[in-house]
């Protein structure tokens, strides 16, 4: 007790401390929805967090714990059955003024995952500091002070430490590969010194675990844990929410978010180890370049320039905090429901025990010997036997010779004579008639079991089910008044969304042999639930049935264990040191997004036409007012579904934009689109700024300048040109990506060829502009001189008709050619030729761009001017454009200029 007091003292001191420093109350986000289907069919009628656990709704335990750790503001996110949750909270003690914290409910009906929930929370912008992220079905009695303190200290040292996960020792069984909570075994790698989480995997390959060598790249010492359990209590920094925002595909907290961050982290190491510091510096600069162009939005949304993008978001770290003596567990499935109920009865979660006045609902139960709790007003026959670790709720009557053990019985139940109940969870107002035998079952509110019913182990009876006389419900059955939804989508999260809104009428009901009961209108199966029975037995999928025992409330049958142990022993020895195996693991592993990029060879053109059409359609939809983000998203998903490369995607988009530009000149819609794009770019830029930090503080100025320019040219420029600008902007990320992959030149040629094609076939109006656009492409560093020159030389042997464009851009090509010869030679030649050539080009430029496109024209001119006047041409180029055109990573000459520019 003294120790406890000491801790309390320390807590308050620490709290004072942090208050002085931060003055941010400790906040918590409570997800009152588990976003899975494991508690079906019960959750069809009542949200999971309101299901009674040892006669108290689960959410009470979570709130009680949040209260005990000093949380001051709780945001309860409700999704399915949100009204029920809200009503419940309104009535509860927590909403009363006497409560120590404030509860705000946040409601959203279209959230289908924890990721969506957090995005909703983010949009509310209510989270100001570190917060506790917990799901409403978590039971804990841990003291958060230490973990919180550690988290804050880490944050001070390293702002990238965004999350602290609470873990607990729990060894999974060798045979079933699951913990006693019924969750799958988990493999984690943790740095023993810093407690940083390095690796997280819950779907472990059956025999061989392969761990990326990068794990050990920066540490010499790692603990690999198979015996830990994730408590699903996280201390998060506000960045976590914005990370969910940035990565709109993050759904699952662990599967996507944690693994996503860790993988990025891994890539960080990869970049660390593979590339030298100057390459990293270049990546940095590319980021800066994009920001300058307001391109970050495109970058982020298109997921294209992953290497670049990655550099900006990666490096976030997740840490763990292991609790040893306190309790923390989440009810994930029926098995954990049973296990945790027993833990509560056995007082592991003290003070969260039935006879403690902790909850709003005061249950005046008394603890008897052998862990038997019973309410004072229980009417119990003298001959009834109440076995160990059992709770009997108030107002329950128990008949003669009835035996109850290891069970929880709710309030107002009526249990007849000679009933045998073992390991069951019987909720409120259940009527069990004489002679029933219940074995490891969950019986929900208002169920009526007629005499002689036998529930085999693992049965779930949902609300108000009635079972007729002498019926045996087979093991692992789930019985509900609601028919089973027919759609058994493999993607449980998606299914959950429509399940919460409507139950689809099941066509398989008839096949479920449902017979009619005299009174009730729907078809119920007489031989399943009995003559007077009410309810459907849910069928299980074939695959599911095999695994039914895993998550059931019933203990794993002995036979199954023996079977498993035989399987375990007979498991063949793994060809562990197979040389080929090693080769495969080491070298064949695809390097995923980080470097790989299908070069744009286009693939088969059969479905590429379809793809083009689809993209075009999407793009047109964008014009009718669909949000820009969604368009990008759609195009990305199209790309993935058609298995196209980014280049195809860009090509199609480019194409449709060109067409649009020709079809509907001077349509006001175009304007809107352009403005939208640009504005979007702006906001994302500012966001990106905060990410990249101090190095680019001076870019704020750039943005302003850029804005003015944009406005200026938007006012007067002819919209065809602006459309090109937009489409080129889409192009650039792809090009840079390509440059990193060195397959640049071929692709660039293809781009030119495609462009040529467009000019020739679809848009003859464009033809005169060809060379201007080409030179624009060049001057924007989209095409390198190598590419253009090789294009020219490729065209050398072609027909005269094919060569019109080459001829058109001849003067431009000559300039490029001269530049390639070498600075000195070029200077010499340039001094002779620049007057005419440069003049030609410049006047052409001026002619085409001065209409309002002045900034481009001017920079182009200034570049040429600088080039001819100063021998240090490359450096000037760099100052103007950030990057030299010779190819993304390989650039070298521009470094100094850029450094001068961006490093204050």
């Amino acid at each position: 007790m003294a120790q406890k007091k000491g801790q309390r003292g320390a807590t308050s001191v620490a709290a004072d401390d942090s208050e002085v420093v931060a003055r941010i109350p400790l906040q918590a986000v409570l997800l009152a929805d588990s976003f899975n289907l494991k508690f079906r069919p019960i959750t069809l009628e009542r949200p999971k967090v309101l299901l009674p656990l040892v006669n108290v709704p689960m959410i009470e335990y979570t709130l009680a714990w949040l209260d005990s750790v000093g949380v001051e503001e709780v945001f309860v996110f409700c999704c399915s059955h949100s009204q029920q949750v809200k009503d419940y909270l309104k009535e509860s003690e927590w909403m009363k003024p006497s409560s120590r914290f404030s509860i705000t409910t946040v409601e959203s009906h279209d959230a289908i995952s924890a990721g969506d929930a957090l995005r909703v929370i983010y949009e509310k912008s209510v989270i100001r500091g570190d917060f506790v992220l917990i799901s409403g079905d978590t039971i804990s009695n841990m003291n958060l002070t230490q973990a919180l303190q550690e988290h804050k200290e880490r944050r001070k040292k390293d702002p990238l430490a965004v999350m602290t996960m609470i873990i607990k020792h729990s060894k999974p069984s060798n045979l079933t590969h699951q913990t006693r909570l019924g969750t799958d075994e988990l493999l984690m790698a943790i740095d023993p010194q810093t407690k940083e989480l390095m690796f997280y995997e819950d779907k472990v390959n059956p025999s061989i675990i392969s761990i990326d060598k990068e794990l050990l790249a920066n540490n010499t010492w790692v603990y690999l844990h198979n015996n830990k359990q994730d408590c699903y209590i996280d201390i998060c920094s506000p960045e976590v929410l914005s990370l969910f925002m940035d990565n709109f595909d993050y759904q699952h907290l662990r599967r996507h978010f944690v693994k996503g961050l860790l993988v990025d982290d891994m890539k960080d190491h990869l970049i660390d180890s593979l590339t030298s510091s100057d390459v990293r510096y270049k990546l940095h600069k590319i980021c800066a370049f994009y920001i300058e162009l307001g391109l970050l939005a495109v970058l982020i949304q298109s997921h294209l320039a992953l290497p670049v993008f990655m550099y900006m978001i990666m490096g976030y770290k997740i840490f763990t905090h292991e609790i040893h003596s306190s309790y923390a567990a989440r009810i994930d499935n029926f098995r954990s429901y049973g296990t945790i109920s027993k833990d509560i009865l056995q007082r592991w979660a003290y003070p969260l025990v039935p006879n403690f006045q902790y909850f709003g609902i005061s249950s005046k139960v008394k603890l008897d010997r052998q862990g038997v709790y019973s309410a004072p007003d229980v009417v119990q026959s003298r001959s009834a036997r109440i076995g160990a670790t059992t709770l009997i709720g108030s107002g329950t009557t128990i008949g003669n010779h009835t035996g109850i053990s290891n069970s929880v019985v709710g309030r107002g139940c009526t249990i007849g004579n000679n009933v045998c109940i073992d390991g069951c969870y019987i909720w409120d107002n259940v009527i069990i008639e004489d002679g029933c035998r219940l074995n490891h079952a969950i019986v929900c509110d208002g169920v009526h079991l007629s005499a002689g019913v036998v529930l085999e182990s693992g049965v779930i009876l949902s609300f108000k089910v009635e079972v007729g006389r002498l019926i045996t419900i087979p093991a692992y059955s789930k019985v509900s008044l609601r028919p089973q939804p027919s759609v058994q989508d493999s993607d449980e999260e998606l299914e959950y969304a429509d399940a919460s809104s409507a139950v689809i009428e099941s066509p398989s009901i008839t096949s479920m042999v449902s017979n009619r009961n005299a009174e009730s209108s729907p078809d119920y199966s007489a031989h399943e639930v009995g003559i007077s029975g009410v309810g459907y037995i849910w069928s299980t999928n074939e695959g599911e049935h095999e695994e039914e025992w895993r998550h059931s409330i019933a203990p794993i049958p002995e036979a199954k264990l023996t079977e498993l142990s035989h399987a375990y022993l007979e498991e063949p020895d793994v060809p562990y040191l197979d040389v080929n195996d090693f080769l495969v693991s080491g070298e064949m592993k695809p390097d995923s997004e980080s470097i790989s990029f299908d070069d744009g060879d286009g693939g088969d053109y059969g479905d590429s036409a379809d793809f083009d059409k689809e993209v075009e359609a999407t793009f047109h939809r964008a014009l009718t007012g669909v949000n820009q983000e969604t368009v990008i998203l759609e195009i990305n998903s199209l790309r993935l579904s058609c298995n196209k490369s980014h280049a195809d995607c860009a090509g199609a988009l480019f194409f449709s934009m060109m067409e649009l530009g020709l079809e509907a000149p001077r349509s006001s819609n175009n304007w809107l689109l352009v403005i939208k794009l640009d504005m979007y770019g702006m906001t994302m830029t500012t966001m990106g700024l905060t990410v990249i930090g101090e190095l680019y503080q001076n870019i704020a100025k750039e943005i302003n300048k850029w804005k003015d320019l944009l406005k200026h040219y938007l006012k007067s420029v002819d919209e065809e040109a602006s459309i090109y600008v937009v489409s080129f902007r889409f192009y650039e990320p792809y090009i840079y990506q390509l440059e990193m992959c060195i397959c640049y030149i071929q692709f660039a040629i293809e781009v030119i060829l495609k462009f040529e094609e467009i000019c020739l076939e679809t848009a003859t109006e464009l033809a005169p502009l060809f060379s201007i656009i080409l030179s624009y492409l060049y001057e924007k560093d989209i095409l390198s001189e190598d590419a253009i020159l090789s294009w020219a030389s490729e065209k050398e042997g072609a027909d005269e008709s094919d060569k019109i464009f080459v001829k058109q851009s001849e003067s431009f090509i000559t300039i490029l050619h001269m530049k390639l010869i070498g600075p000195q030679n070029w200077l010499k030649e340039a001094s002779e030729e620049e007057d005419e050539d440069n003049g030609d080009e410049a006047s052409m430029m001026r002619g085409s761009f001065c209409a309002g496109h002045t900034h481009v024209g001017c920079t182009f001119l200034s570049r040429f001017a600088a080039g001819s006047s100063s021998p240090d041409m490359d450096a000037t180029f760099a100052v103007d454009y950030g990057l030299d055109g010779r190819g993304g990573l390989g650039l070298c000459s521009g470094d100094d200029g850029l450094a001068a520019r961006f490093v204050p």
Binding site: N174, I211, W221, S585
Partner: protein, 462 residues
């Protein structure tokens, strides 16, 4: 435990290829001088210190065996009972063992690499082996961090110096059992673990900073079985040990009657001990004890498992293997430097060893951590720092020797400068030779080495 319970096999190697310019037919690896004593003597004295006096020294190659045998009989005639066995060259460590395995009779065999320089008592490994009833116990020590040390030419631009990784080792949380070991090329690959082993322990410690020191204790019967059955196994480190580690939960080796009856009592004792241990630990995962209620299973599991144990040397202990030229220089430096107790010499007040018969010219300084053996002569104004100079060397004036090893009967003329080099016996350096990071050897007497220019980082073989 009588002395005969352990038999000791010293694998002294032959003309190892990665020490190529230093070792030769005349100078097998075992006889390379470390602080003017053959490297093998460190192992032999270590064993002697643990009262392990019956040794089999296996040498690759007949000639080398004769040389080694001759030296041992001279130096240890009255102290150790050594049998020198010659095996053909290139048979590998497993092959070497195979050729002598029929002579082994004791319960357990201690196998030591002849190039080990350490002060970890082998008795400790033997005791650990016995205590666990292990099939194999191996000595792990911290990887040497020195690397290219002060000569530091390479790696300037590379990122912060990484210690060389010799092994990736997986241990159980009590650090008693060896669960995973990656050697050689595997170290650079992804880590691949057997899930069953991880499951058995629950938590595995993966270390990249430990090194297999090539000192093993094997159960003799198991070793013989493996050598007989797996005739493709070449090396202890790459074949036998990984095999034992990965089959430790589905053992085939202790299957035959004799072994199981013999080890049965052993096992149960160990089991008790483990149980006792685990009761006294907060986390109680023991590899071989199952919480499963099925007694049948755990029994069967017992029979089918064997233990691979480790003894982790204390970090304060010195442990290094002479398996590269870099290691040769490092060990020479360390033995007269930080691990000076190994050399067996008594150091002077200046923290160096100068034999009384050595002659020093005027204004010649011999710094700390130096060694000057008998009969060597130094001229005037010489400077010797952190170097070993062998017997009967003649060194002229104005010679600088830093971080180098000079073997016996070397003649160095005036004005030479030698840095980070190894100069083998009988070499003669003429005036003003500058050597940096070289190994200079010669096979014949009186070859002159006349190079007025500098030689950097070359292996010179005349």
């Amino acid at each position: 435990m009588t002395r005969m319970d352990f038999e000791v096999v010293v694998l002294a190697g032959g003309a190892s290829s990665n020490l190529s310019p230093l070792v030769s037919q005349e100078l097998p690896k075992a006889l390379l001088p470390v602080a003017n004593r053959p490297v093998l003597s460190y192992v032999l004295e270590l064993l002697e210190g643990s009262n392990l006096k019956d040794l089999i020294v296996v040498v690759e190659g007949e000639d080398a065996a004769q040389l080694v045998g001759g030296w041992i009989s001279g130096a240890y005639a009255d102290r150790l009972h050594v049998e020198v066995a010659a095996v053909p060259e290139g048979v590998g460590t497993a092959g070497a063992l195979r050729s002598i395995s029929s002579y082994l009779t004791a319960n357990d065999v201690l196998i030591v690499s002849g190039d080990l320089v350490t002060d970890v008592p082998p008795g400790a490994i033997a005791a650990t082996h016995r205590r666990h009833g292990a099939v194999v116990t191996t000595l792990l020590c911290s990887s040497p961090v020195s690397g290219p040390s002060d000569s530091g030419t390479s790696g300037g631009k590379e990122k912060a110096k990484k210690p060389v990784r010799h092994n990736i080792i997986g241990l159980d949380p009590t650090r008693q059992y060896l669960l995973h070991m990656a050697t050689g090329a595997e170290v650079e690959k992804d880590i691949r673990l057997q899930k069953r082993i991880l499951q058995a322990v629950g938590q595995m410690e993966i270390r990249a900073d430990l090194m297999d020191a090539h000192l093993y204790a094997f159960k003799r019967t198991v070793l013989q079985d493996i050598l007989d059955q797996k005739d493709k196994f070449q090396s202890i480190r790459q074949d036998i040990l990984p095999y034992l580690i990965r089959t430790q939960l589905s053992s085939e080796v202790s299957g035959n009657g004799l072994v199981s009856s013999e080890s049965g009592s052993n096992k149960s004792a160990v089991q008790d001990e483990l149980r006792w241990l685990s009761q006294h630990r907060e986390i109680a995962p023991s590899t071989f004890q199952d919480s499963q209620p099925l007694s049948l299973k755990s029994q069967r599991d017992d029979q089918r498992s064997h233990k691979c144990c480790v003894y982790i040397a204390n970090e304060s202990k010195y442990c290094a293997r002479l398996n590269s030229i870099q290691a040769f220089s490092d060990i020479n430096r360390d033995v007269i430097g930080e691990a000076s107790h190994l050399s067996g010499y008594s150091f002077s007040a200046q923290n160096n060893i100068i034999h009384p018969s050595a002659e020093l010219g005027s204004k010649t300084t011999v710094g700390p951590q130096c060694m000057l053996a008998e009969g060597s002569k130094l001229g005037d104004k010489c400077s010797v720092k952190r170097s070993v100079i062998g017997r009967h060397c003649r060194i002229g004036s104005n010679v600088k020797i830093v971080n180098s090893v000079v073997m016996n009967h070397v003649t160095i003329d005036d004005g030479c400068s030698i840095q980070g080099s190894v100069i083998c016996s009988n070499v003669q350096l003429q005036e003003r030779v500058v050597l940096k990071d070289c190994q200079v050897i010669c096979h014949f007497f009186s070859v002159l080495y006349n190079l007025p220019t500098s030689w950097y980082g070359r292996k010179k073989c005349l």
